[in-house]
């Protein structure tokens, strides 16, 4: 397999507080790689550091030979990384169409890309003129994913996409991630729901205190639930 994204020795801090302490991670092409860990372990910070939203104090994030850590934050999505933040972070005052337009603009994509994305989320086609803040939680999550997919990314970062959603919507998100995997998109997924992780992920990296403790194949995790209890304290 070839690496889609390689993180080496990543250190990050919020002011004086060091959050990541030399994190290493390899995301293979077409892989769904899940980050698991307790609250405050550094999972969301890892995603933000990849996006350049939290500056790395040292280390590298290499995508197709380019070190993303050296780029300004607004150039990272142009390199092919799309981000679905925790809590969706839609532009709530804008319409669904305008939110999608923001995604399309990032890499200069057009109507064909938009149509392709709307085929994945047909419900959004009926809501294009609606203010995104008035959508239901599930629809908002769809829009957040659709907006990110408008970049036609090589790497997709999903931060707790199933948070607060009903089971039918969680199933839709699993299907979408599987479809994207089939199209060659590599995904890093931060997820608290172990059932979701077991059904979507190829590999899991456990993060503890800003360091990667262990990376296991999903089959190993299925066979040894104690692993989850050891690192996350649930399961």
């Amino acid at each position: 397999m070839t690496a889609a994204l390689e993180i080496r020795g990543l250190h990050c801090a919020y002011g004086e507080v060091q959050v990541l302490h030399g994190l290493d991670l390899t995301l293979e092409k077409s892989e769904v790689h899940c980050l698991l860990g307790r609250n405050g372990a550094g999972k969301t910070t890892t995603l933000k550091a990849i996006m350049g939203l939290v500056r790395a104090t040292s280390g590298s994030v290499v995508l197709a030979g380019r070190d993303l850590a050296a780029l300004p934050a607004h150039d990272v999505p142009k390199a092919g990384v799309a981000y679905v933040p925790q809590g969706r972070r839609l532009f709530a005052e804008m319409t669904v169409a305008e939110n999608l337009e923001i995604g399309l603009m990032a890499r200069g994509r057009g109507a064909a890309t938009r149509d392709g994305v709307l085929q994945l989320f047909p419900l959004l086609r009926e809501r294009l003129g609606q203010r995104s803040g008035t959508l239901s939680g599930g629809e908002q999550q769809m829009l957040a994913m659709a907006r990110a997919l408008c970049l036609e990314p090589e790497v997709l970062l999903l931060d707790e996409p199933t948070e607060g959603l009903q089971p039918s919507m969680i199933a839709r998100i699993r299907e979408t991630v599987a479809t994207l995997k089939g199209r060659g998109v590599s995904t890093i997924l931060v997820e608290q729901r172990i059932d979701a992780v077991l059904s979507i992920a190829d590999r899991v990296t456990f993060i503890e205190n800003g360091r990667n403790r262990d990376t296991v194949e999903i089959a190993t995790l299925r066979g040894d639930p104690a692993l989850v209890r050891r690192y996350v304290g649930v399961g």
């Binding site: 996006m51 350049g52 939203l53 300004p72 934050a73 607004h74 150039d75 990272v76 999505p77 142009k78 981000y83 933040p85 972070r89 532009f91 709530a92 005052e93 804008m94 305008e98 337009e101 923001i102 995604g103 603009m105 990032a106 890499r107 907006r147 970049l151």
Partner: protein
């Protein structure tokens, strides 16, 4: 003069004030809305617009319209460039920290004011109106130029609304306004948006000044009163709300024109201040504003 025509005259004067105020307050509101920066130096960009307009108009010989049109183009460009420098040299270095930028723009206010005093002097100087046509109404004649100020302002406000709501530039500005971090995650160069918005805000103030300077006069202290009124307008309308800014500018401008004519200018200011106090107590986000995220 009978009451009806007298009221019409007062309303027209109020509309002129509203037109200029709306342009200036819109600049202030845009800067706060997108950057979360309270620009205390905004009145000085207005003053610079007027002073530079006088300088440009005095260099151009021939018909007054030529000098005025040259000022209308050149003055906002120079003021925009000065604002751009201030944004790069001061605000960006403070990382747009809301408290620090208030202090910094107070400093900028004094710098610009004292620079104008040193280079331009303490005198109030007029810029000739581009034309002196009077519109003859059945009850009185009214300055055609003042009516053109109202029309020009309306066109500029419509253009700004169009840019904000119907163009990609507007989309980018609104995305930055709603969520700076997410905007960056979608390839928007937030620092460039900030620089552009700060320059645009200053240019709107400068255009307002060029329009008003044939009616009043250019003076190095002329920025203070409009700054106060602009703050009143954006607080009533809601910081960052274009619609609120327009409604509040109309309200304040008309009440200023009518109350000043029938009673006294001081009473007009007292009423405006009372309205602000009421808004702050009962609807702190303004009439059309939304609570900041």
């Amino acid at each position: 003069m009978a009451f009806g025509p007298h009221l019409l005259l007062a309303a027209l004067e109020g509309l002129v004030t509203s037109a200029v105020l709306a342009l200036m307050a819109l600049g202030l509101s845009l800067v706060f809305g997108v950057m979360r920066v309270v620009n205390v130096a905004h009145g000085e960009f207005y003053m610079l617009g007027a002073v530079i307009a006088w300088w440009v108009a005095s260099l151009v010989t021939g018909h007054p319209a030529l000098g005025f049109l040259a000022a209308l183009v050149i003055s906002p460009l120079i003021v925009g460039a000065i604002a751009l420098c201030a944004e790069r040299l001061v605000l960006r270095r403070l990382d747009y920290d809301p408290e620090a930028t208030i202090v910094a723009t107070i400093g900028l206010l004094y710098l610009l004011q004292q620079a104008a005093l040193t280079l331009y002097g303490p005198e109030a100087r007029p810029v000739p109106a581009p034309f002196s046509y009077r519109v003859l109404l059945p009850w009185f004649g009214y300055s055609g130029y003042k009516l053109s100020v109202i029309a020009s302002s309306a066109v500029l406000l419509l253009a700004t609304w169009f840019v904000l709501t119907r163009t990609r530039i507007g989309l980018v500005m609104r995305a930055t306004q709603y969520d700076r971090e997410t905007a960056q995650a979608f390839g928007i160069a937030v620092d460039r948006v900030y620089a552009g918005v700060f320059a645009l805000g200053a240019m709107l103030a400068a255009i307002a000044a060029v329009l008003i300077v044939p009616i009043s006069q250019a003076h190095y202290l002329m920025g203070l009163d409009p700054l106060l009124l602009s703050f009143i307008v954006v607080i009533i309308g809601g910081l960052g709300s274009l619609r609120g800014t327009l409604v509040a500018a109309l309200l304040i401008g008309l009440s200023d024109g009518i109350v000043s004519m029938f009673f006294s200018p001081t009473l007009a200011k007292i009423i405006a201040t009372l309205v602000v106090a009421m808004v702050l107590v009962f609807r702190p986000q303004g009439l059309f504003g939304t609570a900041a995220r």
